[in-house]
């Protein structure tokens, strides 16, 4: 299980570099519309980018979970054929999805544009993940810490919402536009909530290991926020669709549920004020700690933005603009990627602390490049989002869209430059972790490295 966990992680690091590269190419097409238009036009480039970076989030969480179950929690893996088959199914699906995009044999919907039949083996892979996970954990752990609940919830809801995203294949759903469209966006909202369960579960696991504080994993407050997150996953999706004319109560319920996230924000502020009063802990010297802290700050910023744009009055002006993209990029890069890097650094230190110590300066450079370019990236999106909102509500009737596109070009150039900087930073960190931690463990010194470097920090 450990080896396959590391194979998932290797694949995820490749996906991160490739996905960020596709993102740069797509950003070039924003500024220079004819770039690669005849080979891979934007309608193909975007799915290449989106699917590949989503693969980074999902594969690295999955790999981390497999690794932690056996190596850190010391659970005996059961049914080895499940996780082995899971890995190979995902490899084959990744190839099939790329072929689908490149040949233009698509037919799916936004975020899942590939040929819909490919979803069947993807679902089979998730089902195998579920079997492997629950068979390993059910009998061996009685009082589950919150991260086991979160990982289990993430897997189950991922299967459900991936299926739900394909209900359009049935005429009952497809034939009525509003029903179909609402359910499509319901599934996407909850889909994000599901992978967040996997990622945030990983964050709590790493924090628990760094702090050695039992309340992080089993405290009442921790469980309260898990249940709050689950409620948001189930009922909060409709803040994406405030202006789709579906039943009012569904949208109003989503407004109410979304507002409960103020509690998350207050909890972060409370946590900070407590930490300021505390003296330094040994965990802050662990290289993973800076990524955990960065994720904490980005969570604060993004929850604040999410709360604002979940208020319908504000959403009215931001919906349909790149302000929404700013929020989603802030969460996928600022929160998810920082958390996953923290997890992979934790694993790399565990496997080969000596090598990681030697590249710590380069990792720090990568870390600061990533945070700085991300900030510029989000500001560029905010800038173009505000311009579009002004256009929509005061100029749209007499100013053609092409004029707006020309007007926001400086913001798009800034978006491209910061996107390229982000690509360099992400690729640097990914390569350092692969070369000095994961690669050695998978292909060269598995076992040896592990025993030598345990608990170095």
């Amino acid at each position: 299980m450990k080896k396959y966990g590391l194979l998932f992680i290797s694949l995820s690091l490749g996906a991160l570099i490739l996905g960020a590269f596709f993102g740069v190419l797509a950003a070039v097409q924003y500024v220079f519309p004819d770039f690669l238009k005849e080979v891979i036009a934007f309608n193909k480039m975007r799915p290449f980018h989106v699917s590949t970076v989503l693969a980074w989030i999902i594969l690295s969480s999955t790999g981390g979970i497999y690794f932690y179950l056996q190596e850190e929690l010391k659970l005996k893996p059961s049914a080895s054929w499940t996780y082995k088959t899971h890995f190979w199914i995902f490899v084959i699906c990744a190839i099939a999805i790329y072929v689908s995009y490149f040949t233009g044999q698509m037919g799916g919907r936004e975020y899942l544009e590939f040929f819909p039949l490919i979803t069947i083996p993807v679902l089979a892979g998730w089902a195998l993940f579920g079997i492997s996970y629950f068979k390993t954990t059910f009998k061996q752990v009685t009082n589950w810490p919150v991260y086991l609940w979160m990982w289990g919830t993430g897997i189950v809801f991922m299967i459900y919402h991936l299926t739900e995203a394909h209900l359009w294949l049935f005429p009952y759903f497809r034939e009525y536009f509003i029903r179909d469209f609402s359910i499509q966006w319901k599934s996407y909202g909850s889909f994000v909530g599901s992978w967040n369960m996997l990622v945030y579960g990983t964050l709590i696991f790493v924090m628990h290991r760094l702090s050695h504080d039992e309340t992080v994993a089993r405290g009442k407050k921790t469980f309260f926020f898990y249940f709050l997150g689950l409620t948001n996953l189930m009922l909060g999706w409709a803040h994406h669709t405030y202006f789709v004319p579906m039943a009012t109560w569904v949208r109003f319920l989503a407004y109410l549920v979304s507002m409960t996230e103020w509690l998350v924000l207050l909890n972060i502020i409370h946590g900070w004020s407590k930490n300021f009063k505390k003296k330094e802990k040994s965990s802050i010297h662990h290289p993973a700690y800076s990524f955990v802290m960065a994720a904490d700050y980005w969570i604060f910023i993004n929850v604040f933005i999410a709360l604002l744009i979940s208020i319908p009055f504000i959403n009215y002006y931001t919906h349909g603009t790149r302000i929404t993209v700013m929020h989603s990029m802030g969460t996928t890069i600022g929160i998810n990627t920082n958390i996953l890097f923290a997890s992979l650094i934790y694993i790399s230190v565990y496997l080969n602390g000596d090598r990681i110590q030697k590249v710590i300066k380069q990792l720090r450079i990568g870390f600061w490049l990533m945070q700085s370019f991300l900030l510029l990236f989000l500001i560029s999106l905010l800038w173009s989002g505000i311009k579009r909102s002004i256009w929509m509500y005061s100029q749209g009737e007499y100013l053609p869209f092409s004029v707006l596109h020309e007007e926001i070009k400086p913001a798009l150039i800034s978006f491209l430059i910061s996107g390229f900087g982000l690509f360099i930073a992400l690729a640097l960190i990914a390569w350092l972790l692969f070369r000095n931690g994961i690669y050695l463990a998978v292909y060269k010194q598995a076992g040896e490295a592990s025993n030598r470097s345990k608990n170095r920090w």
Binding site: N43, G107, R109, S182, T241, Y242, V250, I311
Partner: protein
């Protein structure tokens, strides 16, 4: 005993949430559609499939949901100065990042039929939306 209570309590909360979720989903799957809604025609369904197969959503939006490289198409058919011929002209020629699609006349009609039936469902942006002091925004369907 404390541990037992914690485990039972957690399981109970999960069970309650899952029950709520099941009921909620049944209602959503049955009741999100406005009562006045009409089924999409066969032409519109064919157009919807073409919209998907060519991944129009990478650049265009419906109700503000989709890509940002092109304009929102929710009311493209009923907007003054635009309409079916305007849509077909772009499908014929392409523009900037938008590739030139080689659709047959029947396929172009199907895409227009889809956009026409989407247009009938509501407005985006809704310039007549009513703001409430609670932060809520009231919207109207086209039939209201």
């Amino acid at each position: 005993m404390q541990t037992f209570n914690n485990i039972t309590g957690n399981r109970l909360v999960i069970a309650i949430l899952v029950c709520i979720f099941i009921i909620y989903n049944i209602i959503i799957y049955k009741g999100t559609q406005p009562l006045t809604a009409e089924k999409l025609s066969d032409d519109a369904l064919a157009g919807q499939l073409l919209y998907q197969k060519n991944n129009c959503t990478a650049c265009h939006q419906l109700y503000g949901l989709g890509g940002y490289l092109g304009p929102d198409l929710t009311n493209i058919i009923s907007t003054k100065g635009k309409g079916p011929e305007y849509v077909k002209a772009f499908l014929n020629s392409g523009i900037k990042s938008m590739p030139r699609f080689h659709f047959s006349e029947k396929q172009k009609d199907a895409i227009v039929a889809y956009l026409r039936e989407v247009d009938k469902t509501g407005h985006f942006p809704d310039y007549n939306a009513r703001m409430h002091p609670t932060g809520w925004v009231e919207i109207k369907t086209k039939s209201e």
